[in-house]
């Protein structure tokens, strides 16, 4: 029962951090790589991804919002009637975010 022994503060902390990153950074990236570049309004400058500071930035940009997703998604599903399987849902979602983090780290390291 002790609040300090559950991991919820951790997940919530990561969710919040992810929410901040998503709020400040994600929209402009969607504009750039999802809309402006494909439509040819901006040059395609993928080579910058190899810069080390940029890689670190990308890691944060990609990894943290995954926890934001994991947190909200599992709660949304249980709010939509899947309360009975909340525990496995949580394991699945946070697990997916963890996996995503590892993959993102691996990809960005190997660039």
């Amino acid at each position: 029962m002790n609040g300090r022994k559950t991991l919820e503060p951790l997940w919530w902390g990561l969710f919040s951090a992810g929410g901040v990153v998503a709020a400040f950074l994600v929209p402009i990236h969607i504009v750039i790589t999802g809309i402006a570049v494909p439509l040819g309004w901006l040059p395609d400058a993928q080579e910058i991804y190899r810069h080390w500071p940029v890689r670190l930035y990308l890691f944060i940009l990609i990894a943290l919002p995954l926890y934001h997703w994991a947190h909200r998604f599992q709660f949304a599903l249980s709010d939509m009637g899947m309360r009975g399987i909340h525990k496995p849902l949580a394991v699945l979602c946070y697990g997916a975010a963890l996996l995503g983090t590892v993959i993102a780290g691996w990809i960005l390291l190997r660039l």
Binding site: F24, V26, P27, I48, Y49, M80
Partner: protein, 139 residues
């Protein structure tokens, strides 16, 4: 300690249908806010895959870029953008509730806090855009 409670046998328990969030506008908007995370995460996965192509050679990279030019993907990104913007605005507003700024002991009005954040967000976005354009030149 309570000695008297209603008789459980006589209670009527209303059930909450799984579609409760369709019954009221504010609940629906809440659900949209929560689901915005799916589109944001989706976009980031696509971004990650795109980055992954860089080390798989020029052909793979070009194919991926071509794919993103298809109307379907543009549409996806459009929708994702709408959700992301919705997320940003609601996030700033909720932050004004969660972590209010105090100026001389008084909480800053929520709309002002939100407006300031939106301003900061515009600034950050502009910086990112400029860096995106400036970095390749400097490399």
């Amino acid at each position: 300690m309570m000695a008297t409670r209603p008789d459980p046998a006589g209670l009527y328990h209303p059930a909450m249908p799984a579609t409760w969030w369709l019954r009221k506008r504010s609940y629906f908007l809440f659900m949209l806010r929560e689901l915005s995370s799916v589109f944001i995460a989706g976009f980031l996965v696509v971004l990650l895959l795109q980055i992954a192509q860089i080390s798989s050679g020029e052909d793979a990279r070009a194919a991926f870029s071509a794919m993103l030019r298809s109307p379907g993907w543009i549409l996806f990104h459009g929708v994702a953008l709408a959700f992301a913007v919705y997320h940003s605005v609601t996030w700033f507003y909720t932050t004004s509730i969660v972590m209010p700024l105090r100026v001389r002991g008084r909480e800053l009005p929520r709309w002002l806090f939100t407006a300031l954040n939106i301003g900061a967000w515009a600034g950050v976005s502009l910086v990112i855009l400029i860096l995106y354009l400036a970095l390749p030149a400097s490399a």
